[in-house]
Symmetry: C2
Subunit: 328 residues, 2 copies
C-alpha cells in the first residue's frame, strides 16, 4: 500500500467517500506494524464522530440464510432512508481466500445500493484479532455517517461472544423445524440473544416456523435476561419473501429505545470499550508469550506432560512463566 | 506454619490420615511464595495416585438448598461404602471470614462421618486462583483415597465455569416454581449442566417440582449437548427428605459410565488439565501486568479515557503494553 495521507483519509471518511472508506478499512485491518500507529491515529481523530449507528450483530448456523436475510433487511433499511454498513467476523478468513460471510453474490441487491456498504471479514493474521479489526471498522463506518451497522458472524470460536460484545442488539437466526425435533441451539448462543428470528417462514414452512417460534420463546423464558432493560423476544421472518423483516427491525428499534430509556445504552458501550481494551492487552500478552521461541518449545513439551499426567498443571505453568522471564 | 516435612506429609496423605490431609490442603491453599514450590513438589509426587474419584460439581443459587442436599447425598454415599470429600469454590471467601459454602453447621451429619471430609473454600488471596487451589485440593483428596469428590460453588464470577472444567459431571440445582413462573436460570449455567436437579420436591411442592422438571427438560432439549456421549437430564430431589437422592447418584454413575464407554473420560480430564495450565499462565501474566505499579496507574487513567470515548481501546492497550515493556 502506498503511504496514505492521513489527513486526506480522515477528510474522505468524514465526507462518506466510499473509496476512502475502503482504504481506511484496509489500513485498520492491516497486520503491518507500520500501519498500526497510523490506523490508531486515524481512529483517535475520528473517535468523536463515532457512536451514531444502531449496532446489530447477526449470527446463525451455515444454511440458515444469513446472507439472504441481511440482503432483505439491508434493502428495507435503505428504502426507509438509512445508510447501512454490513461487516463480518469470520475467524476462518484467510489472506488469500474469501470469507464464507459477506458473500456479495448473495447480497447482490444490497451491494448495488449507494446507501449500503458491504465489507468482507478481515483476515486472521499474525496479530490475530479479527473481531477487534471489525469493531474498529464499525467505528470508521459510523464516522463516515452510516447510521446502521450490521455485523455478521458464524459460530466459530469466540466470534459470537465477541460480536455480541461490540453491538447493542444481538440477533440469532434459527431454522424452523421439519417435524417435532427442533435443531439444537449451540450452547451459549441462546443466552446472548436479544432477538431470535426463525427464518424461512415461507412456503410450506410457515406453520413449522410459528411452532418453532413458540418453543424457542418458552426456552428463552427460563433464562434470566442479562440486560435488565430488555426481555428477549422470538419472531418469524423470511429472507426470501421479506415477510417479518420490517417487524423484526421495529423490534430492534424497540430494543434500542428500551436501552436509551433505561439510560443503559451509553454505559453498555463504555463498558464494552473497556473490555476491548483489556481484550487487546490480554491477547497481546498471551501472544508474546506463546510466540516466544524458547517458551513455545517448552510449552509444547509441558502440555504433553500435563496431558499424560506426568506433570501437574500449575507446576507446568510456573516453568513456562519462568522461561518467559516472569516469576512470582 | 512450621516447616513441613514433605516426606511425612506425602506418607500421611497416602495413608489417608485426616490431620495430614488438612495440613496438605493448607499448604496448597497457601499464598506464601515459599510454600508454592513445596506444594508443587507434593502434587508432583502424588500425581500418579490421582484420578481415582468420580468428580462432581454442584451449583445453585443461595437458598436452593445446596448444603442440605450435599449433606444428604454425602450420607447416602458413605452409607453405600464410598469415601467422600466435599470441597468448595467461593471467590468471595476472605482470609478472616468464613465462606458461605461448606457450612459445616448445615452439613452437620456428614461432618461427623469418618468416611467424609468437608473443607471450606480456599480464600481469595494475593495470588488469586481460588478454583485452582480447590482443584489441587481435589487431587490431594484423590491421592488420599477418596473415591467421590463433590465440589460446591455459587454463581460468582467465573466460578461455575471453572468448577465445570475440573469435574466430570456438573449438577445444577434449581428450585421448584411457586406458580407458573419458573425462576430464571442464570444465563450460561444451564448450558454447563450434565444433570439438573429440582430440589425441595417435598411437602406441598411435589407437584410443582415435577412441573418444573418437565419445563427445564424442554429447555435443555433445545440445547446441543457439548459432550456427545451424554444427553443432559432433569430430576427431582429433596435434600430434606432424601427423596430422589439415590436416583440422582445413579444418574451421576450412568454419566460416568457413558463417558468411559465412549472413551471420553480420560481425554476430557487431560484437556481440562491442559486448560488449567494455560489458565494459570494467563492469570499470572495478567496479574503481573495489572499489579505492576507503573502500569496500574496508567491503566486506570486509560480506562477512564476509553470509557468516556476520548481514547480508542486498542490505542489504550498499546500504551499499557508499552509501559509493561512489551511492544509489537
Amino acid at each position: 500500500m502506498t503511504e496514505l495521507d492521513l489527513d486526506a483519509v480522515e477528510a474522505g471518511v468524514r465526507r462518506g467517500d466510499r473509496a476512502t472508506i475502503g482504504r481506511a478499512l484496509t489500513l485498520v485491518e492491516s497486520d503491518l506494524g507500520r500501519h498500526l500507529e497510523r490506523s490508531q491515529e486515524l481512529l483517535r481523530r475520528l473517535l468523536p464522530r463515532t457512536g451514531g449507528a444502531i449496532r446489530v450483530g447477526i449470527t446463525g448456523v451455515p444454511g440458515v440464510g444469513k446472507s439472504t436475510l441481511i440482503d432483505a433487511l439491508g434493502l428495507h433499511l435503505v428504502e426507509t432512508g438509512h445508510r447501512v454498513a454490513v461487516l463480518a467476523v469470520d475467524p476462518t478468513s484467510g489472506r488469500s481466500g474469501g470469507s464464507i460471510l459477506g458473500d456479495k453474490t448473495r447480497m447482490a441487491r444490497l451491494c448495488r445500493e449507494d446507501a449500503a456498504f458491504v465489507r468482507p471479514s478481515p483476515s486472521r493474521g499474525a496479530l490475530g484479532g479479527v473481531a477487534r479489526k471489525t469493531r474498529e471498522g464499525m467505528l470508521l463506518c459510523e464516522a463516515a455517517g452510516f447510521d446502521v451497522v450490521l455485523v455478521e458472524t458464524v459460530g466459530v470460536g469466540q466470534s459470537e461472544t465477541e460480536v455480541a460484545d461490540m453491538v447493542d442488539c444481538f440477533v440469532v437466526l434459527m431454522l424452523p423445524n421439519a417435524g417435532d425435533e427442533l435443531q439444537g441451539i449451540k450452547r451459549g448462543i441462546l443466552e446472548l440473544a436479544d432477538l431470535v428470528a426463525v427464518n424461512k417462514a415461507d412456503g410450506d414452512h410457515v406453520a413449522a416456523a410459528e411452532r418453532a417460534r413458540q418453543q424457542y420463546a418458552l426456552s428463552l423464558h427460563y433464562l434470566t435476561p442479562t440486560e435488565p432493560a430488555w426481555t428477549p423476544e422470538v419472531r418469524t421472518v423470511s429472507g426470501r419473501t421479506g415477510a417479518g423483516i420490517a417487524e423484526l427491525w421495529e423490534r430492534v428499534e424497540a430494543h434500542r429505545a428500551a436501552l436509551e430509556e433505561a439510560g443503559r445504552l451509553a454505559p453498555r458501550r463504555a463498558e464494552q470499550a473497556v473490555r476491548w481494551m483489556w481484550r487487546a492487552i490480554e491477547d497481546e500478552l498471551s501472544r508474546s508469550l506463546r510466540e516466544d521461541p524458547a517458551v513455545a518449545a517448552l510449552a509444547a513439551q509441558l502440555e504433553a506432560e500435563v496431558r499424560s499426567g506426568t506433570t501437574p498443571a500449575t507446576e507446568a505453568a510456573t516453568r513456562v512463566l519462568a522461561r518467559f522471564g516472569l516469576s512470582r
